[in-house]
């Protein structure tokens, strides 16, 4: 059973590459700047946010633009990725009706799509960081750890959402609201200090807070995050992936009735 799944995965691996390549091409099909937008749009957003918030949080957060951009990159990746995974079955229905491709590949490919966009955004992120005075350090190479964990989390979460979203399209609207709420409970544009000390443990219940904190420790604070945080992060990723896979597996046989 397990062996068979691995074989299947390997068999369709070239397909994953092709689909990601195809979607990437289509995404920037009619824009003049093309791929450059992956790098330009976070920069422009950062400009706006910095102008608005840096006066408020200037004293408590050093390198505010990096603080915000780093958190936002990871947050947008997880949210955009899971939302597009949720819709991936519906959006690829014409293909699913005609070809035999394991359904979960569409979830993986749509998340991977956003992963690539985010990796590209890391270039302007580090460019800005160095300009505003963040010191380069070997820890920066470790940012791939939280990114991979967030990637696994997003695939799991996206598959979970997809298992329900394929049947009930209202989930899209709910998701938009939930995303906004999630943005506010995650310290992305505000510092964690504004929350009283005895409530801060609650942040750790939020996987996004955990990933973002690890990312910031590596990318701008030049420190090693606490072991506890690293374990919690790994735990969230694996648990979510298992949850997503089992839910998806249970529901996927009925997808074709709804697409």
């Amino acid at each position: 059973m397990f062996r068979k799944s691995i074989d299947e995965f390997m068999y369709y691996l070239p397909f994953l590459g092709e689909v990601v390549r195809k979607d990437f091409k289509k995404k920037y099909h009619k824009s003049v700047l093309g791929v450059a937008w992956s790098m330009l749009s976070p920069l422009l957003m950062m400009l706006v946010i910095t102008v608005i918030f840096s006066t408020i949080f200037r004293r408590s957060i050093p390198h505010y633009p990096s603080y915000w951009l780093g958190g936002n990159l990871l947050f947008s990746f997880v949210m955009d990725g899971s939302q597009s995974a949720m819709n991936s079955i519906i959006n690829n229905s014409s293909l699913i009706r005609k070809m035999k491709i394991p359904n979960y590949f569409f979830c993986i490919s749509s998340v991977t799509q956003y992963l690539i966009t985010m990796l590209l955004s890391l270039i302007p992120y580090f460019a800005v960081s160095f300009i505003i005075g963040v010191q380069p350090s070997p820890y920066m190479l470790l940012i791939f750890f939280p990114i991979i964990l967030a990637y696994i989390f997003t695939i799991g979460f996206g598959m979970f959402l997809c298992a329900y979203g394929t049947f009930l399209r209202d989930f899209n609207y709910l998701f938009t609201v939930a995303r906004r709420a999630w943005l506010y409970i995650t310290p992305i544009f505000y510092p964690i200090d504004i929350i009283p000390e005895n409530y801060r443990f609650m942040f750790e219940l939020n996987p996004l807070y955990v990933y973002i904190t690890i990312f910031r420790d590596f990318a701008m604070n030049n420190t090693m995050p606490s072991e506890r945080l690293l374990i919690v992060a790994t735990f969230y990723s694996i648990l979510t992936l298992i949850l997503g896979m089992t839910t998806f597996k249970e529901k996927e046989d009925r997808f074709f009735l709804y697409i």
Binding site: P14, G17, E18, K22, L95, K100
Partner: protein
């Protein structure tokens, strides 16, 4: 499940209709490449198909969450041998496409099981899952990847595919600008070039001009000799007789009869008149 065997097995089944009718004649034959056992497929009719929470709750309040069932296939059993060409005939809505999709693994049977030995290239509704915004070149790589082929492998077959589809001048044009004949030519060329063991062709040869149809028929004959199995749906009795040895007659999701293509097709045509 997934093994890409390139060995060419040539088989002739003189008593194919007997074997299909009795269904246990070849029971432990290794040459069976598609084995459909008592397959039933149920659809929920769209009446109560909830697409939103609101509808779901309204239906729940009305006590209508139960579905109106529709059985597209009932207890279909079928064995196809390697190198055989089987035609599915029957009226619209008789379950031909559903059966093909079940064999292709696109639809999971509600009851029963489908066993397939070998790789399948499904050619359903002409285009084998093409993306209309992409060019023929990109679609060939995409379709190849759906059959587990790497870019490198497809590059080797690329010229052959384009040549067969006669699309040399339009390689880099998005296929949304193609005519339906051009798309079906490309679909056919790709499906027959990916080295699948079983080809599922749903109404593919009805499009395209006479010359191309002839070319396709020749290609199919050639592949049959090489051991490829073909499952074929067509509404043209002449074409069915020409291409296939065996026919399966479906009516309202039930197999009426199967056997020699000439007998079955003739009897089917009589019921229409």
């Amino acid at each position: 499940m997934i093994n890409i065997s390139e060995q060419a097995v040539e088989t002739v089944n003189p008593i194919i209709n007997e074997s299909l009718r009795t269904n246990d004649f070849y029971d432990d034959d290794e040459d069976v490449c598609v084995n459909v056992r008592n397959v039933s497929v149920m659809f929920n009719l769209s009446k109560n198909r909830e697409e939103g929470i609101k509808e779901y709750f309204i239906n729940m309040v009305k006590g209508k969450v139960g579905y109106k069932e529709f059985w597209a296939l009932r207890n279909v059993s079928l064995k196809v041998h390697r190198g055989d060409a089987v035609a599915l005939i029957g009226r619209n809505g008789s379950g031909k496409s559903t059966l093909l999709k079940t064999i292709a693994g696109i639809i999971k049977p509600t009851r029963g099981s489908v066993e397939v030995n070998g790789t399948i290239a499904p050619l359903i509704e002409m285009s084998g899952g093409f993306d209309r915004a992409l060019s023929a070149r990109e679609n060939i790589f995409l379709a190849g990847a759906m059959h587990g082929h790497t870019r490198k492998y497809m590059k080797k077959r690329f010229d052959e595919i384009i040549e067969f589809a006669e699309l040399e001048k339009f390689v880099d044009v998005p296929i949304k600008n193609y005519s339906s004949g051009m798309i079906s030519r490309l679909g056919f060329a790709v499906a027959t070039c990916v080295n699948a063991d079983i080809i599922i062709a749903d109404e593919v040869l009805s499009v395209g001009d006479a010359q191309f149809r002839l070319k396709c028929e020749n290609r199919i004959q050639q592949m049959l000799k090489g051991g490829t199995t073909i499952l074929y749906v067509s509404h043209s009795p002449a074409q069915v007789k020409k291409m296939c040895r065996t026919a399966v007659w479906l009516e309202k999701g039930v197999v009426v009869d199967m056997g020699n293509v000439n007998d079955i097709t003739d009897r089917y045509m009589q019921t229409i008149k």
